[in-house]
C-alpha cells in the first residue's frame, strides 16, 4: 500500500504570553542573533507542552518530534486530551501554519474541514456561496457545476437556494455548508470536530457520509474528535497525542484503549496547585480523590469487592452554610451509569471533607469517570467539572469464581437462590 502522508521529526513551537507588545526589541535581538549565527535567544528548547505545569520559559512545544506515516485509504482518528496538539497537527497538515522544524510530505490533493462554511458571505445567495465555499476548499468551477444539483439536494434547502444566506436559520446554514464539504473529492480529507454542530439526525448523516468516503471510496481521512465512539466506528487507525508528543499509533481500538486508560488513570486524585486552582470564586476544591474504602491504604487498587469512596476536600466561599453536591458516574465512553447527590453542611471559609461511598460488588471491572457538580441549596449552579476524577475497578485474582470483565456497565452482586421440588409458584 502506498503512503499518503509521511511526517518526520515534526515540531511546532509557540511563544506564550502577549504577542505584539514590546516585541520590537525582541525581534531585533532575534534578528541580531540570527545574523551572527547564534541560537535564537527566545527559543529555549526542551519544554513540554503541559499547561498544568509551571515554567519560566515563554515558549512551548505544541508538537514535539512527531513521526508517523499514513497509508492511502486509511482513516485515522487523532485523539488526545485538550491541548495535546491535535489541532496544531491538523493545522500544520492542512498548511494553515508551518512547522518550526521537520517535514510533512503529502501525496494527493488535500482538503481540510476545520470548520464548515468557511468563507460564506452573508450577502450572497446559497447558490453563490456554494461556488465561493467550494472554490475556497479547492474545487474547480466545472467540478462544482457538475455536482451542483447533488449538493443542493443533499443540503435540503432547495427552496431557499437563491436567498442570501444571512436569512438562513443556523441549521440550514450548516446543512448547506456541510453539503459542499461532503462533495469534495480530495485524496486526503482532514476533518476537525465539525460534527459537533447540528442536530443528532444531521450528525448521523455526516458520520455516514464520512464513513462512505473512507471505506467505499478509498480515500484517506484524518479525523480529530473527542467522541471516542465516533473515532472507533469511523477509523481503522489511531494516533494518540500526549503533551505534544506521539504517544501511540496503531489500530484504533488499541489506541483508544491506551488513551482511555492513561488519561483516566491519571486522575484518581486531583488537587489544586499553585498554578492551577480547582474551583472558582464560589468554592475551592483542595482535593478530590477516589479511595479504596475497604483497605487500610486508600490508594490501593480498587477491587471489585471494595467500597469506592469519593472524598472531596473543599472550601466554601459562599455565605451559605450548606452546599449541594452531586456526581454523574460515567463509563470511559461517556455513558452515564447513574447519578447521585446530597445537601451537605459546609461552613464558609473552612476546609470541609465530603465523602460518598459506592458499595463494593456493584461496579464492573472497568474504567469510570465522574462529572462533579456543586450548587447552592436552592440549586443555582456554583461549579461543575466534567470528568473531574476517574478510576479503575479491577477484578483481582481470587481463589474461586469468575475473573475479569463481564458484560454491562455495572455488575451488582445479586441474591440467587434455588429451591428444588416446589413447583406451584412457577
Amino acid at each position: 500500500m502506498s503512503k499518503a502522508i509521511e511526517v518526520s521529526h515534526l515540531s511546532k513551537l509557540y511563544r506564550l504570553g502577549s504577542i505584539g507588545t514590546g516585541n520590537l526589541s525582541h525581534d531585533f535581538q532575534r534578528w541580531l542573533a540570527k545574523v551572527r549565527g547564534k541560537e535564537d535567544p527566545y527559543m529555549v528548547i526542551g519544554k513540554q507542552n503541559n499547561r498544568e505545569a509551571g515554567g519560566k520559559q515563554d515558549v512551548v512545544y505544541s508538537l514535539h518530534d512527531i513521526n508517523f506515516t499514513i497509508n492511502q485509504g486509511d482513516s485515522v482518528g487523532i485523539i488526545g486530551r485538550n491541548g495535546a496538539g491535535k489541532s496544531t497537527l491538523l493545522k500544520v497538515l492542512s498548511r494553515i501554519t508551518s512547522p518550526t522544524s521537520g517535514t510533512v510530505k503529502v501525496r494527493g490533493r488535500v482538503a481540510s474541514l476545520l470548520e464548515v462554511g468557511t468563507g460564506f458571505h452573508p450577502e450572497l445567495s446559497g447558490r453563490e456561496n456554494i461556488f465561493l465555499n467550494g472554490s475556497i476548499l479547492g474545487m474547480r468551477r466545472h467540478e462544482i457545476n457538475a455536482k451542483l444539483d447533488e449538493i443542493i439536494e443533499f443540503s435540503g434547502v432547495e427552496r431557499y437556494i437563491d436567498t442570501p444566506v444571512k436569512r438562513y436559520s443556523s441549521g440550514m446554514y450548516v446543512r448547506l455548508a456541510f453539503a459542499v464539504a461532503a462533495h469534495l473529492e480530495p485524496e486526503i480529507l482532514i476533518v476537525d470536530e465539525v460534527l459537533a454542530v447540528g442536530d443528532a439526525e444531521f450528525q448521523k448523516k455526516c458520520l455516514g457520509k464520512m464513513n462512505q468516503v473512507s471505506t467505499s471510496e478509498g480515500r484517506t481521512v484524518l479525523f480529530v474528535s473527542h467522541n471516542l465512539t465516533a473515532v472507533e466506528t469511523l477509523c481503522n487507525q489511531g494516533i494518540y497525542l500526549d503533551m505534544g508528543r506521539l504517544a501511540m499509533q496503531g489500530p484504533t481500538l488499541d489506541v483508544v484503549r491506551e488513551y482511555v486508560s492513561r488519561d483516566l488513570l491519571a486522575r484518581r486524585v486531583v488537587q489544586s496547585t499553585e498554578i492551577k486552582r480547582l474551583g472558582n470564586e464560589h468554592l475551592t476544591i483542595v482535593e478530590a480523590a477516589v479511595e479504596n474504602g475497604s483497605s487500610e491504604n486508600p490508594t490501593d487498587i480498587i477491587d471489585i469487592s471494595s467500597d469506592v469512596r469519593l472524598k472531596i476536600t473543599l472550601i466554601n466561599h459562599t455565605k451559605d452554610h450548606h452546599l449541594s453536591v452531586g456526581f454523574d458516574l460515567k463509563t470511559a465512553k461517556e455513558e452515564v451509569v447513574f447519578g447521585s447527590g446530597g445537601k451537605l453542611h459546609s461552613p464558609p471559609g473552612m476546609p470541609t471533607v465530603f465523602t460518598c461511598v459506592i458499595p463494593g460488588n456493584f461496579l464492573n471491572d472497568d474504567l469510570y469517570q465522574m462529572d462533579i457538580y456543586f450548587h447552592t441549596p436552592s440549586m443555582s449552579k456554583l461549579f461543575a467539572q466534567r470528568s473531574m476524577v476517574s478510576f479503575e475497578i479491577k477484578d483481582q485474582a481470587r481463589d474461586n469464581g469468575f475473573l475479569g470483565k463481564i458484560n454491562g456497565m455495572i455488575r451488582p452482586q445479586l441474591q440467587w437462590a434455588s429451591s428444588a421440588g416446589i413447583t406451584k409458584n412457577v
Binding site: 494553515i96 476545520l114 470548520e115 472554490s135
Partner: protein, 291 residues
Amino acid sequence: MSANAESQEQWDVVIESDYPLFNLRLKEAWNYRDLLWILVFRNFVAQYKQTLLGPVWFFIQPMLTTLTFMVIFGAIAQIPTGGIPQPLFYLSGVVIWTYFSDCLVKTSTVFKDNAGVFGKVYFPRLIIPLSIIVSNLIKFALQSVLFVLVLLYYVYFKADVFQLYTTSFLFMLPVFLLLMALLGLSLGMIISSLTTKYRDLAFLVAFGVQLLMYATPVVYPLDSERVRSIAGNFLQWNPLAPIFEGVRKGLFGTGFFEWWYFGYAVTVTVVLMFVAIIVFNKVERNFIDTV
C-alpha cells in the same frame, strides 16, 4: 525531491520550515483561478447589496470628489491646472488616485480581514490581494467611462475652451495602470504583513494615504512654477508622480514625462515588489499564530 525518482518518493506537497525566499507559487495560484473570479464577483456584488443606488455609487463618488476639489483647490486655493478645464483635470486625477488608494488600503488589511478564513483553510494567500486588484480594476473601468463622457462633452460642446490633444502616450495607459496596481499591491502587501504583528500600521495607513495624495500630483500639475516654488524638486521623487504625469501627457499632452523618469518609477516598483514578496511569503506561513 528531484533526486529521488523512485515512485515512493513522488510527493505532491512537501511542508517544511525552510522555504525559498522568492517563490510566490504562481503555478499553484493558477490552479485556484476560479476562486479569484468568484472573489472578484463577491467583492463587487457584496459591496452594493441592499443599497438603493447600487453600482451608481461608483459614479457618485468621483463626481462629488471632483466637485469638492473644484471648490477647494480650484476656486478657493486657485491652484492652476495647466490649462486643462478643472472638471477634466480633477476627474482624471480622482479616478486614477482612487484606483491606487483602493488597491493599497484594501490590500493592507488582507491578513486582518481574512484571518478567519486563513485560519481554517489553505489556499494560495496571494489570491486575495489579486482579487482586490482585479475588483478595483473593474471599478476603475466603470469610472473611466464617466471620465470619457465628460471628455466627450468638452470635445463636442466646449471646443472653445478645450482642444483635445491626445498623444501616442495614450497607449502607455495600460502600463501606467499596471505600475500603479503593482505599487499599491506591493505597499499593501508589505503593510498587511507587518500589521499582523504591529497593529500600529493600520492607523498609519488610514491617514497616510490621504497625506500621500497631497504629495502626489493629483490636484496640481507637477511641472508648475507654483509647485516648484513651494516644494522644490522634492515631490518629483514620489514614484507615483511619473505615473500621473504620464497619464496626463497621454490624455492632454501637458504632463511632464521623460523616459528616465518613467524608469525611476519602474525601478521603485520592482524593488518594492521584491520586498513585498519576501515579507508576504514569510508572514503568510505563520501569521495565524500571531494574528
